[in-house]
Symmetry: none
DNA sequence: TATGAATGAGAATTCATTCAT
DNA sequence: GATGAATGAATTCTCATTCAT
């Protein structure tokens, strides 16, 4: 990483503290109930400073969601790649399970990113997070025996991630229609069936 | 149905016009951009009247989402039951397709109910909308050959509805990762695979 | 008491329940925080009915204060007259003490009448509560040896009641500058000194 | 006193103009009839500015009452100390008379501070107004021949101030049971009697 | 008399955004 | 770049009062 001037460092610090404050407040008291005033107070910067870095509340929100979502996916694929699997489906389920367990431990995060863990986010993340590509490569490699076309693979991946996301939200946050651990067998079985041609 | 007094009728009318106005405004200019002032003006009632029927903006929103979601499901199952199908999976896909087509035509509605077409809503709807039960009966009947337990059937139904909902939102509203019509074959194939033991 | 028609009885009942509801609400949640809506709901009558009996919130408040204040004074004098006293000052202090003890047990009442236990109220009460006159008679009789003029007696009575009222409020409600029981000796001594020529 | 920056000066100015506007409006048209809107308009500041300095209408009211009450007491003791008196009771009555005359000239002020000229206020005022302590010193000094304990002196002071306050309110505002000037002889005589052991 | 739905003026409060320092 | 006081439009919500039934 490049050396930064003191000014540069200070800027970085302020931005970071704004991110941290906003994340904390969004997750604990909700997006609706968080005012920019609250964010800057918690971050310990002046109100005007917020506008030097972000357009408005939804700008910082989007950036947080993108950041956090990418981190999860990136971590999940990275952890998955550390392991050895006999079959692709085992690898995929390990990956999915990693995400689920992560969200189980971070309910508040899940609450704000929930249906935003969308394809749009993933596409955006490609640029900044190299590892995200590997999710697709994993799929491509794993499914090559089934002779899927590239487009189909993307769609399958999309469907699986959407399903995982919405099941997580419902089961982890609302506990409906069942606890996430009770739901896992059905979810995993569904995913396994989906990828088979 | 019991005859209503003029007063009772009038009350009903006011409430209805508030629902209609709020729905219209929420879908066209967004929830965030709709003030209670706007709603009452459009409904042609006094501001105070709003608070006679609803606690605040989110109260009427919740009630609208519940109403509309139930209506869609109710309509879908009712339409499905009018037809004859050879196989259960055809019936199920007809039902799902009805919902998708409905949402395609009502993007604005989809936008506001999407995060709310949850199992919780469906459970609430049981009370007021008899037909909702029939969705479960259809599943039970259709899946009896597979020897699923009752709990498993509920979970399958949940998974399929969640998947449908989130795919609809992403593909219809965001057009990501593809148009809903392009997505349908994959989605339907996934659903078919999911129900098979 | 005259026999009442059923209609008459019903009216009386409604008025009473309005009084009771308003008193309960004024004392428990404050005058400021009590709306006419709250009163009629608690009383179990329609909103319009309130206006058949009272002009507004302050009308019923005034009437309650008058009623309650008069009751206290009336009760105090009546209880005092049941006893025998050697000296007038003993009688007067018994009377004052009765009031203090009563207010000690009815802090909430004290809170709402305090600023209203004024001479004005007492004057009004003369008409409806015969016994109130007896307070003045007691004074007249008790102070005759001092050769006070009638006007002076009235003023002394006024001064003693004002003093008692404001000391009660401060000591019972605010506990400032001391508890009412700690304050009594000084208060009583002051009163005794005041009446002596 | 420290020099203030322009910004700091401006802040002070705004706060002052809010105080002045609120005081003017509270006294002339009543607390109930004064809206925050009226205050800010009169003060020539934006509505939001009000909330920068005060929580709500009752916050500014409390602060005004505290300020004004302290000022009166402070002025009264300061004026009293300028004079020479032979006897303590003359000094005390001069002090009380100063207060009465002040309130006679400021009926509107009396109306809003009236039964708030309480011990609680005086205690709070100790911190900001040095001279308030002198009231107690005057009492201590003046009563030393009577051998009162410190606690008793406080209570006597309290009783005399309460009595003065409530008599002023009733006689100046309501003219009940008599004009304040008619009442003075009795009040002064009462006070004189109270302090004598 | 009694009702209670409807009214709508008006009060309180919030908050994103600006801009002089 | 950083600050934070000031803004004032926008919004929510209250509530006394009326009046047709």
């Amino acid at each position: 990483m490049k050396r930064m001037s003191k000014v540069e460092e200070n800027k970085q610090l302020k931005e970071e503290s704004l991110y941290a404050a906003a994340y904390e407040l969004f997750t604990t008291q909700g997006i609706h109930n968080t005012a920019i005033n609250d964010i800057v107070k918690k971050a310990g910067v002046a109100k005007g400073t917020f506008y030097l870095y972000f357009k408005d509340k939804y700008d910082i929100l989007d950036k947080i969601v993108l950041k956090k979502s990418s981190q999860i996916l990136s971590q999940a694929i990275s952890e998955t790649n550390k392991e050895q699997f006999e079959k692709f489906e085992d690898k995929l389920l390990y990956f999915i399970d990693y995400i689920i367990e992560y969200l189980k431990e971070n309910k508040l995060l899940l609450k704000i990113i929930y249906k935003n863990l969308s394809w749009g986010i993933i596409k955006k993340a490609y640029k900044d997070y190299e590892e995200i590509n590997e999710i697709f490569y994993m799929f491509e490699e794993g499914l090559k025996d089934f002779n899927y076309e590239e487009e189909e693979i993307k769609k399958l991946l999309f469907i699986i991630l959407e399903l995982t996301g919405s099941v997580c939200y419902s089961c982890i946050i609302l506990n409906e229609p069942a606890d996430i651990d009770e739901m896992k067998p059905i979810l995993f079985s569904a995913i396994k069936k989906i990828i088979i041609r």
